[in-house]
Amino acid sequence: MTVPALQVEGLNRSFGALHVTRDVNLSLERGARRALIGPNGAGKTTLINLITGVLKPSSGSVRLNGEDITATSQAERARRGLARTFQINQLFRGLTVLENICMAIGERDGHNNNLWRSAGAKREVIDEALDHLESLRLVDDSLKLIRNLPYGRQRLVEIAIALAQRPRVLLLDEPAAGVPSSESHLILDVVAGLDPDIAVLIIEHDMDVVFRFAKEITVLVQGAVFTQGTPEEIMKNEDVRAVYLGQEGHAAGGRGGGHD
């Protein structure tokens, strides 16, 4: 019996009278590929914020590799191997792509405490950053400032930073959001090719992606887990169709259905 990489138990969070997260239980095994879906306002991003420590839960616990991290800071969780990407890019816009990646590596390995040696003195940091960029086909952009980069490429940097943290659990908050469909396959290829050891939780609205990528799906409705299961089970579940796929119209359901 192995310890789950990430285990969320009885998580609750209210903003005043608004109960946005209700008794959520969720578990990611090592190497898991789980999608978190649900209609708008279901509390998906809030759940990510609770897991990563941006928000403190009203009650419940979060465990990372068996250790209780409920009380630890966001930064501490990141250092223990919990990485995330943001739905809206959160990058160092005035720095180069390469510097963005080096920042994450330096923080992971503790180089960033150094205030005397030059940032370029650690060749292994730069080489590792370039490796990450190379695997995402971003090497040519390594010296461009983020703010001069097309949005789709910025989304890739978003993922590259998270990967540079060498996470054991990775939370992807709509990685292809805002990217034109002509470019989104680049991002989805990266997501599909992630290291099989990393446990991944992905929030995604595109059902094509969800059914292609996920081995398990959790459906969140009004802050509570509505149901969980394999893609086939979710697809056959009439209730899910009613609350979620129904809302998106028959197109979404039809497209999902066309894949089996």
């Binding site: 800071s73 160092f92 390469l98 330096g106 005397w116 190379e134 010296l143």
Partner: protein, 431 residues
């Protein structure tokens, strides 16, 4: 694994370029010698203005300390005079009350004490941002000033502690009336401090500061202990401000509680922003330009010199948002773009489209110019004549002339500006 696979030479080349940039980023460039050469040249060119030169160098150091937290870490503070004051009073009180008059150890003590105070204060306040932080920093400086005032028996209050004596530098160099010894003393200390700051800025820690400025949410997400980092840089910055304050007391042999003034905090911030934040050399340019103009204006009109400074700031805000160094960068970028433009001019024919808003812009800039010209005319009258009589006698004719000239210049500048921007906008549409 990566060495086994045969690699695309283009990728290897791109990797090399990327690594090269980071490795070489902190190398000294020859232009960096310029401010130091100018400082040394000033000693020989203006030997009788060295006391003033000293004040400039001290303000450069003070602005440099602010650049670390404001320019790099993006923490806005309006109370940095607090730490300048701590340093200034450390050496004053040590000399007067403890008889500890050795300058260099006093300098170090002033820096250390200011750094400790900075760490303590920073621990409380850097968790806030924006207006809250601004108010807290102002309040802290005011508190220090007021507690100094309450113990005016010790601090001398607003009358100050005059006639402080310090031992000869290194036990050998005597001070002179012209401030020559002091000038070299301050310049060497500034060089040492600058070396430290430069190393910090180019270190991984310096990158972290930029990261906090650029996106603090991401810093948390990649596991950075943001609060600890900010307290560290706040303490370092406070220590440097303390060293500047200590030098201020030592070179003036005099200190009053006005070193804690809000004016002092605001002035150093203005200097930094005028020169350009987050650029290492912004403090040099900003402090020098500000102080030289202040000196010039106050000779021109002892009563109204602040008007000149005010105009300067208005111009800076209108035309050089990112400071003088930012302006220089823009100019370089503009010329580079023009070069590129030359090469492909044939493909995209340029034409000028006048729109209605261009005319209104022209009109409003003429109005701005008129107001500035009016004030300038008024100020120049001030030079010779008393305020009230100036209004009555000298004003109409001269002010009218200046108003017209000002309007002309304002409209002219804007017309040129519009010519440039409207052309580029047409081209952007085309491409």
């Amino acid at each position: 694994m990566s060495d086994i696979k045969p690699r695309d030479p283009a990728i290897l080349d791109a990797r090399e370029r990327g690594a090269d940039y980071l490795v070489r980023r902190h190398y000294f460039r020859w232009t960096e010698a310029l401010p130091w050469l100018i400082a040394i040249a000033c000693f020989f060119l203006f030997p009788n203005r060295m006391t003033f030169g000293n004040q400039v160098l001290i303000m450069v150091m003070f602005a440099l300390s602010l650049d670390l937290i404001l320019g790099y870490a993006g923490v806005v503070t309006l109370g940095h005079a607090a730490f300048f004051g701590v340093g200034a009073y450390t050496v004053a009180l040590a000399s007067l009350r403890l008889g500890w008059s050795e300058p260099i150890s006093g300098l170090i003590a002033g820096g250390l004490l200011a750094g400790i105070v900075g760490a303590a204060v920073g621990w409380f306040i850097v968790r806030y941002r924006g207006l809250t932080l601004l108010m807290l920093t102002i309040a802290f400086a005011a508190m220090l000033q007021e507690s100094g005032n309450l113990r005016s028996d010790l601090t001398g209050g607003y009358d100050g502690l005059p006639g402080l004596m310090f031992d000869p530098l290194l036990g050998y160099f005597q001070y002179d009336l012209y401030g020559h010894t002091n000038y070299w003393y301050v310049l060497v200390v500034l060089a040492v401090v600058f070396y430290f700051v430069r190393r910090i800025v180019y270190s991984p820690f310096g990158q972290v500061l930029t990261g906090i400025r650029e996106n603090v949410r991401r810093m948390h997400a990649i596991g950075s202990p943001v609060h600890r980092r900010l307290v560290t840089v706040y303490a370092i910055s406070a220590a440097i401000a303390g060293v500047a304050g200590a030098l201020f007391t030592q070179t003036n042999a005099y200190v009053t509680l006005t070193v804690f003034d809000f004016d002092n905090s605001a002035k150093v911030m203005v200097m930094l922003i005028l020169g350009g934040t987050g650029r290492l050399y912004g403090p040099f340019l900003g402090a020098a330009v500000y102080m030289i103009l202040e000196d010039y204006f106050s000779k021109l009109s002892p009563t109204f010199w602040q008007l000149g400074i005010g105009l300067l700031l208005v111009l800076a805000v209108l035309f050089a948002r990112r400071g003088l160094l930012g302006l220089a960068e823009d100019a370089r970028g503009w010329f580079a773009a023009k070069e590129r433009d030359k090469e492909r001019r044939s493909s995209a024919p340029r034409r000028l489209v006048w729109k209605r808003e261009h005319w209104t812009a022209l009109g409003s800039s003429a109005l701005d110019g008129a107001i500035i010209g009016f004030i300038a005319g008024f100020a120049i009258n001030m030079k010779q004549i008393e305020l009230m009589t100036a209004f009555v006698t000298g004003m109409p004719a001269r002010a009218l002339t200046f108003t017209l000239i000002g309007a002309g210049i304002g409209a002219g500048i804007n017309a040129i500006y519009l010519l440039i921007t409207s052309r580029t906008s047409v081209e952007e549409q085309a491409s």
